[in-house]
């Protein structure tokens, strides 16, 4: 069995002894080679989790193993793109890429970097400070990809890209994943953005893991049901239920076969995510440990 890309157990982080927990009780396991979406509302702890994984923050409690070792030891094998895409404004694009080569000796893939930058019709002599947000994202992605990481962590990577660039760069990322088996973890608060490209989901809300696992498995484990309002949904676990008139619409996690007279349908990923986020107490009913097992 291959080493998992990330394995977290009761991981917690708070910034300062009296501060609130930014991340707490975070346990999950991400197998290598997956493309994983980390979704959750703003301030849920997504960035904190990615920064810990990248070896930028020490965690406060629990354990985390990245590529089979601690985050600091895995540093050279991890690519990271920060939410703010920090780059040195005084350098040109070409200089930034040369710096990447110098800082990643033995790993650097200049062709990949140049290809990604060229895709945006960027003049390599242009200074970083003269670039738009989307163009900076492109350079930041080029830097992260050209070090040929085994694990690529992207914090809100697509936020300031136009739809065309988003589509193209997503294609580049998927190509990378397919060709090199790179594990990709990308966060977003827009679920639709990730639905087509990701095969694994990590849902974070309120600093905790709410749902984790293969997207197909998660979807298969849930059913959207529509039944008369007085129906008893037991013994099935109810994630969310809503009564409209005489109809009860619910997202359930069936404990067994559902009665034949219930109207059922598969939930969409967005539906699933929103249901869990709207109902924080649903976590207790559905320990997600099997996804971490």
């Amino acid at each position: 069995m291959t080493v998992p890309a990330i394995e977290a157990d009761a991981l917690g982080k708070r910034f300062g002894r009296r501060a609130a927990w930014a991340l707490r009780d975070c346990s999950f396991r991400l197998p290598a080679g997956r493309v994983c979406a980390v979704v959750g509302p703003n301030g849920a702890g997504k960035s904190t989790l990615l920064a810990i994984t990248a070896g930028l923050h020490a965690h406060t409690e629990g354990t985390i193993a990245v590529l089979g070792t601690d985050p600091a030891s895995a540093r050279s094998r991890i690519g990271f793109v920060d939410q703010d895409k920090p780059l040195y404004p005084q350098l040109s694009i070409a200089e930034t890429l040369r710096m990447g080569a110098d800082l990643n000796p033995g790993r650097w893939d200049a062709d990949t970097a140049e290809r990604i930058v060229a895709g945006g019709d960027l003049d390599p002599r242009k200074r970083i400070r003269a670039l738009s947000g989307g163009q900076r994202t492109r350079v930041a992605l080029a830097l992260a990809l050209a070090k040929r990481p085994e694990l690529l962590l992207l914090d809100e990577p697509m936020a300031d890209l136009d739809p065309l660039a988003r589509h193209e760069l997503m294609g580049v990322l998927m190509g990378q994943a397919a060709e090199h088996g790179t594990t990709i973890v990308m966060s977003s608060h827009v679920v639709a953005e990730l639905e087509d490209s990701c095969d694994h989901l990590l849902l974070i809300g309120g600093g905790r893991v709410r749902l984790a696992g293969e997207i197909d498995d998660l979807l298969a484990a849930h059913t959207r049901v529509s039944v008369p309002a007085d129906t008893d949904l037991a013994p099935h676990d109810v994630v969310e239920s809503r009564t409209a008139g005489r109809q009860l619409s619910a997202l359930v996690r069936p404990a067994g076969p559902l009665p034949a007279d219930w109207r059922t349908g598969p939930p969409s990923l967005e539906d699933l995510v929103l249901s869990y986020l709207r109902n924080p107490e649903a976590l207790a009913a559905h320990p997600t440990t099997e996804a971490a097992a």
Partner: protein
């Protein structure tokens, strides 16, 4: 998604990856500071060479002319050289002493503060550079440059001052405060401490302007502390003089007063033991001699070296703190 796992890079297997080449990029990122610093050092060096050479000769000649005038009512001498010497001496002394503040401000503001404020440090740390290596690069080469530049200018300052001693009547004495510091190793140690404190301030405050101001202020405070402690950094010599002569001994005074017949030290009620009123009050308290604890010129280097040593110890503590802080913040090896 099914994907075959291939090792993305050869260095992932076994042999350690070669060290990242950071120096070139440190120089590139701080090119304006490097150019400015080099220009200022060369300019200051040239000014000190001129001061210690042609200008000292001209001013010395002018003083010779002036002294030859005696009481002649009309006499011409090269007053411009004397005034220029004096001005340039003061300016260059000030410049030598201000360098540590500039180094501290740059280190706090630009070297670490700005990188933490803008987040570019995360870029460095997620390339192949570990936080510790990043910090080493931010300290080692700048420290070498700082020591070279401040060492050179302080040495040239001393050289210029020595050239004028005994030849130019208005040459500052060795214990004149600015001259005392600019002639020795303290500017070098202070600049090094400024670098270390600045780097630490940037890491702690994570804001460029705040770190810049804090680092410069810290150098001021450290210098004030060293200046206050200076007389006690080496054991002074004691000169005992007759009451009629007043307390004697030229140099950095530590303490003075009167001695009684039993050898007790008392505060002196007055220093003009030759005058009858003063003499009466000295007799009242049983004083038999004046004494003065002071540092003569021969204590110059011991005082400089101990002061510099203290500053370097502060620098070492700041550096150790910076490494510990970075380590605590960024890495925790999972059990």
């Amino acid at each position: 998604m099914t994907a075959t796992l291939t090792a993305p890079a050869p260095s992932a297997t076994g042999r350690p990856a070669p060290a990242p080449r950071q120096l070139r990029w440190l120089l590139r990122l701080h090119r304006p500071a490097l150019i400015t610093g080099t220009a200022l050092t060369l300019l200051l060096g040239a000014a000190l060479l001129w001061l210690g050479g042609p200008l000292t000769d001209a001013a010395a000649a002018a003083w010779k002319e002036y002294n030859a005038c005696g009481f002649t009512p009309r006499c011409s001498y090269d007053q411009d050289s004397i005034l220029l010497y004096k001005d340039l001496y003061n300016y260059t002394t000030f410049a030598v002493l201000v360098v540590p503040f500039l180094v501290a401000a740059w280190a706090g503001g630009s070297l670490t503060g700005r990188e933490l404020e803008s987040g570019t440090v995360r870029l460095a740390w997620t390339q192949g550079v570990s936080p510790a290596r990043w910090l080493v690069s931010r300290l080692a080469f700048p420290a070498a440059l700082t020591v070279t530049a401040t060492g050179l200018t302080a040495w040239l300052h001393r050289r210029a001052w020595t050239a004028g001693e005994h030849r130019i009547d208005t040459t500052k004495l060795w214990d004149d405060t600015p001259t005392f510091y600019a002639n020795g190793t303290v500017p070098v140690a202070l600049a090094l401490t400024g670098l270390a404190v600045g780097v630490l301030a940037g890491l702690v405050l994570r804001r460029a302007m705040a770190a810049l101001a804090t680092a410069a202020a810290a150098v001021g405070v450290l210098w004030a502390l060293v200046h206050t402690a200076l007389p006690y950094l080496w054991s002074p010599v004691t000169s005992v003089s007759a009451l009629g002569d007043g307390p004697l001994g030229a140099g950095i005074a530590v303490e003075e007063g009167v001695l009684t017949a039993d050898g007790d030290r008392l505060a002196a009620p007055c220093v003009n033991g030759g005058m009858s009123g003063c003499r009466a009050s000295l007799d009242d308290i049983g004083a038999v001699n004046y004494y003065r604890d002071f540092h003569p010129a021969s204590h110059y280097w011991p005082l400089q070296l101990v002061a510099s040593g203290l500053l370097v110890a502060v620098a070492a503590a700041a550096i150790a703190t910076a490494f510990a802080l970075l380590r605590r913040r960024t890495s925790r090896v999972s059990a």
